[in-house]
């Protein structure tokens, strides 16, 4: 069994992604990776970048949406692509340390990450969810 991953699922108007991972942080990593793939990002490995941000306390669904919206904002406004995430639980929430590269271009604009039917499910072996993106 593949412990972590993502796959696109059918949605009439927008785009949805089923994501799974052995823990919540892996779920976050895979969600970002899946979202980057949906956006058709072309990165430039020559220009390394780093970023730190915090996700506030909240439900798993809220933290997932906050995390992805932050990643989305970084793509649009700083042209940053991050494939290496470290997560640290703190009193304020989750500190996210990320490193990656500058983006050359991307093919698809994602307007937002939605809460539509969003539920992060924890099973005995993994975390999983389906995320709908407005495009």
């Amino acid at each position: 069994m593949i412990l972590s991953g993502y796959e696109e699922v059918e949605h009439t108007a927008d785009i949805a992604l089923r994501v799974w991972g052995e823990d919540f942080f892996t779920l976050l990593r895979q969600s970002a990776k899946g979202m980057y793939e949906l956006m058709g990002i072309l990165e430039n490995p020559g220009q390394p970048m780093k970023v730190i941000f915090t996700i506030d306390h909240g439900s798993a669904e809220m933290q997932l949406v906050d995390f992805l919206n932050e990643v989305l904002y970084i793509v649009e406004n700083q042209a940053g692509y991050y494939d290496n995430f470290t997560f640290i639980n703190t009193r304020d929430g989750i500190d996210v340390h990320a490193s990656g590269y500058k983006i050359i271009s991307y093919q698809r604009n994602i307007k937002a990450v939605t809460f539509h039917d969003l539920e992060v499910i924890e099973t005995k072996t993994r975390f999983e969810t389906t995320i709908t993106f407005d495009v």
Binding site: T12, E61, T114, D117
Partner: protein, 485 residues
């Protein structure tokens, strides 16, 4: 769980169907669907009807939740959904307006015939593509400070007039005169302002487009004359919205209102339906911010119209007698507005949520420019890429039956991934060019996603709203140039 099937509908009239509030215990009002039997049956293939039923659980709804025949599955609200809430006791829901606040369509008419410009279509397409910034990650060449942007999103199209980008006639021929009162930039986040500054005057990607069309057929001479549409003449359409500015406003408030829902004890079947009572501070804050987004979108389409006019002038001045583009109308199809409607015989101010639905005010309605007072408001219904677009007009029946609303487009039937599996962008491009349509597209994959077969037949959608009496046919347009981001 109650199963959704054709059997749960009661036919009210030939093109009007109802789901009783008895269908599910949490429904507050009925669902009313305007569609032919076959379009209604088609809609059962996705979750749009379930989403409409979910909307009926919102507090303070009046009348029914309406669904237009171009309905398809969205997130929270279905696309094609219309819901009215009592402004004293009801809620406002950002999901019922959407991330692309005031996504809408602008139609411009001209005195140019197809014959006059047919040999210039290729250079015109290229020039429009150069003049009108479009595509993913493409920024504007207009640079406003945050204070200037805050001022612009309070004034909307009126700001464009003062700045020299719009005429009084443009402003007058825009829904709500291009400006929703009560916009409050202090309720807009720094992040939204930052995204908005760089994207004002841009088309974006996805299903947004600029089209140059020929008026192929006129069905109502009087209405078409009032709109300046004549058979064989050139027209143009712009379809875009509030770009990252609106997306960020909606993102911020969907997040913030998650806690408001708990605070006010509102139970929802889907978190994306988050809402707040209109009269509470959270509802008022969202209204103030959303109106900024709406005004930004009116302004955005105005700026693009200005660039489109410049492109027409660049290519056509000196070659045709009159290259000018006159604004027919500009309408929103993702918006929340306070409007006065008659419900159960009583006139009431309500908050209308239109998510993928167009205002369709009938003759004599408040707020229409004088030239449309007798014919009703123009209703702009773009078809899928490469197919016809319709110009309709609102009716008295739309005021009585659908909160003065009608359809907004063809409506998707195929997911984007399926469209890409079934359609090769380059093949589609060649096919459309063979049909005489000049295409300028940023991405072949994006072109494939917007293939005509991914959408319903817009003619069937129009037959349903016309059959239901909530709009009447005025003219049909065929594309000559399509610019996609």
């Amino acid at each position: 769980m109650n199963e959704i099937s054709f059997d749960i509908f009661t036919q009210i009239r030939e093109f009007e169907w109802e789901i009783s509030p008895d269908f599910r215990s949490d429904m507050q009002v009925p669902v009313r669907v305007f569609a032919s039997k076959s379009l209604l049956q088609d809609s059962l293939r996705d979750r749009s009807i379930l989403q409409a039923i979910n909307v009926t659980t919102l507090p303070g709804l009046v009348g029914a939740v309406m669904v237009m025949p171009d309905m398809h599955q969205g997130y929270g609200f279905p696309i094609g959904g219309v819901a009215a809430t009592d402004i004293e006791t009801g809620v406002i829901s950002p999901g019922g307006i959407g991330y692309d606040i005031n996504c809408g369509v602008r139609l411009l008419s001209s005195q140019m015939s197809f014959e006059e410009i047919k040999d210039l279509l290729s250079i015109l397409a290229t020039t429009i593509n150069q003049y009108c910034p479009s595509g993913v990650g493409v920024n504007s060449d207009l640079s406003l400070s945050k204070n200037e942007l805050a001022d612009a999103c309070v004034k909307g199209a009126k700001w464009a007039k003062v700045a020299g980008y719009a005429s009084q006639e443009d402003v007058h021929h825009t829904e709500a005169n291009g400006c929703l009162e009560g916009a409050d930039p202090s309720k807009v986040s720094e992040r939204a302002l930052s995204r908005g500054r760089t994207q004002l005057g841009t088309l974006g990607g996805g299903n947004h487009f600029i089209e140059v069309d020929i008026v192929a057929q006129v069905f109502d001479e009087k209405a078409a004359n009032a709109m300046g549409l004549h058979k064989g003449m050139i027209a143009a359409q712009i379809h875009t919205g509030s770009r990252g500015f609106g997306h960020q406003i909606c993102t911020d408030y969907v997040r913030q209102l998650q806690s408001a829902v708990r605070k006010y004890g509102i139970n929802l079947p889907d978190k994306q339906l988050v809402c707040a009572p209109i009269q509470c501070p959270e509802g008022q804050d969202y209204l103030g911010a959303m109106r900024c987004g709406a005004n930004y979108a009116f302004l955005n389409r105005q700026l693009l119209a200005n660039r489109l006019r410049e492109a027409f002038e660049k290519v056509l001045a000196g070659k045709v007698d009159n290259w000018h583009l006159k604004q027919v109308y500009d309408i929103a199809h993702n918006i929340g507005k306070f409007e006065r409607h008659t419900i159960d015989g009583e006139e009431k101010m309500v908050c209308i949520h239109r998510k993928g639905a167009t205002r369709a005010f009938g003759p004599g309605s408040e707020g229409l420019p004088d030239d449309f007072a007798e014919i009703g408001q123009p209703v702009l219904v773009p078809g899928s890429m490469g197919t016809a677009s319709w110009v309709l007009a609102g009716t008295q029946l739309s005021m009585e039956r659908s909160f003065g609303s009608s359809c907004h487009g063809a409506g998707r039937v195929m997911s984007r991934s399926q469209a890409k599996r079934e359609v090769w962008g380059e093949d589609l491009l060649k096919k459309l060019e063979k049909e005489g349509i000049e295409i300028r597209a940023g991405s072949m994959a994006g072109l494939a996603e917007e293939a005509p077969q991914a959408y319903k037949d817009v003619d069937r959608v129009v037959e349903s709203v016309v059959g239901a009496g909530i709009a009447k046919k005025v003219a049909v347009l065929h594309p000559l140039i399509v610019i996609k981001g």
